[in-house]
Amino acid sequence: MATRLPSVDVVLVGFGWTASILAKELTDAGLHVLALERGGFRDTIPDFSPATIQDELRYAVRNGLFEEPHRETLTFRNNASQVALPMRQLGSFRPAAGAGGAGVHWNGQNWRFLPTDFVARSHTEQRYGKRFIPADMTIQDWGVTYDELEPHYDAFEYLCGISGKAGNIGGRIDEGGNRYEGPRRREYPLPPLKRCYSTVLFDKAAREAGFHPFPAPAANTSKPYRNLYGVQMGQCTFCGYCEWFGCGNYSKSSPQACVFPVLLGRDNFELRCQCNVTRVLRDSTGKRATGVAYVDVAGRPYEQPADLVILCAFAQHNVHLLLLSGIGEPYDPATNKGVVGRNYAYQITSSVDVFLDENLNPFMGAGALGQVVDDFNGDNFDHGPHGFIGGGYIALWNTGGRPILQHHLPDKTPKWGSAFKKALAENYLKAASIATHGSVMSYRDCYIDLDPTYRDVYGDPLPRLTFDFHDNEHKMSKFVTDRAAEIAKAMKPRAMHVKQREKHYSIVPYQTTHNTGGAVMGTDPRTSVVNRYLQSWDVPNLFVMGACAFPQNPGYNPTGTVGALTFWAAKAIRDQYLRNPGPLMGA
């Protein structure tokens, strides 16, 4: 029998970026907030201490800070004719477990989506005609606009202390920043990071190729910074251990560095770690959430009543919890009806490695230290002649030169033996990699449902992912990669290696932890799980945060938009929902 606990005002499922922000905003509003985190507690000291965190084997190779598939994973297949098999070890993406979530181990590449990204279907139909969109592509408008989100993007950037250069303040274009971005109200909180040599060479080559490079917006602080919540951050030292690591220097934005110091001591906030939520509970009408069921570290089941339930777990875990809880109609690809699990999308990436004669010192880096070309992202260029929609950015990131996973070798280098060793010695200090990072549209045959065979440690069915890249994405990725190769060529390398992303999606090699969709937002309950305030259509006292709300995945890293949507939803909850609890939109 589950132990029934005293009720709280708000229960947050998970404790990463979205839950940390909501906990701060809703405790500010006087509510008693409880967060249930499936992983352990972690804080800057001792867990990310600079004395021990710079350990590539432990964290980047053996996955020290990530979720562990032996507890729960997903099954995967490229299409519905295959039998889905478990993802037995982490590969293509690496969600976190533990306080701070993936906000601990990200690089800090922090973007806004383009204004046109939020109106993907209506904008594409208007500019290129209805027939430009393939019949099986299920993209849709978000139900929220860039202009509505702008103040909330601003809030997240001032929470994080983003280092960057604005390209568009109130419509005034500044060529020092991204000339294609939507208008912003003011400059970034901090100036761009210092540049390393490889980004300077990329910048020069990109200009020669006729493009418009600019410094990437970085959640790595270029100077000491006091943030939106009054928390003090340090200056990034370019140690080169951001992605896969926690920051011991208070200079990579994370819940620990940006929110914990003002949140954890509050009397009306409570955090329980190693507590895994297994169901959202509802009353007999099914229209009202009564709380959640969870299991603690010793296996004891609990029932936690709450007036408001907010899912803040990683994208596919929120979808999984909705499916297990029977909330919302599960998506059925055969009939194209139902919504939960629908419109799963991802990111399509590629790279061009360049091998130079000069010493680049790749180990002096930061997760979001890079120069970027955005000329071929979103609808920043005319797609008419190309026959695809979407796009991506081209960037030379110098995230670090960690030797096991970040040594680049010329094409056709043997995998072992003296020739391999010689290539390692000759190229480690003199190689760089240009990345492309592209959008993935949503499709009728890409979705998440429950696996009929495989189960997690709680005895529940694993989520089953059915996903593959489509022609539109392959065409787009090839186009953008070819542009990246033009820049690479202009760098006059002694060798270069163009690595197109071809063929089927594979769950094996790491690509990005940018899984999206499955509980998408919108204005029509027939095609969305949550309304434009991220409130469940079916259960109005349930909200769902995160990238699972994206109806399709634009060509940028998702965290900036996840943060903005969280502030947007927090405002709706505080200003509208708490005054009059009920649906914030008519169906």
Partner: protein
Amino acid sequence: MPKLWRRELLKAATLLPAMGAVAATAPIRFVPRTMPSAGGNPPDYASPPQGFLSPQEKAFVDAAVARIIPADELGPGAREAGVADFIDRQLAGPYGAAETWYMQGPWQAGTEQQGYQLKLSPAQLYRATIREIDEHLAKSPAAKPFAQLDARSQDDFLHALEKGEVKISGDLGKQFFEILVVNTVEGFLADPIYGGNRDFIGWKLIGFPGPRYNYVAEIGEYGRKYDMPFVGIAGRDSPAKEA
């Protein structure tokens, strides 16, 4: 302090026995989700004092890594860097036991895109494959275990293994070789606290100075070689050197 934020929970979790894989319908297993904090100390759990490999298996691994990254005119290779010790210790730890992998059945071969679907943990794969390789070689004209072949014959055999030309339980030999190469590179380039990269042999070869904390001044010195002494997590001297 949050009311239920308790380090004790973490400590208690480490005392719970870790049980092996169970059938999908079995009761819930409770295994600590994340490693307890190292609390500022080097993570010695990753380098248990006793390794996994038998002397014969260790001889195979030592001989194989010496061909994968050989000592040559560029300097010492994986053998000299202690990579066999590294692999031995890794196989004895959580990696060797596939402790964090999803290892529940049913088992079936999948597509290349679906990834690893063997029922074997890395330690089991090493054990099963090395035995078969040496049995295979004992019956061959060479009639010697791998470790006793000359370097040329070892290279020829490893090439055949890589191409799938040596049949070891179907295609296990090919999969094993891929993992052996990956583990060798790990051991050559990981921090010396794990037993490989002894005396920074791997890092010195490529020019990685080790985990240094601050490059604010140097990052703007374009093209200049960084020449501070090599360091590891445990300091400037490799602990393996004293062992």
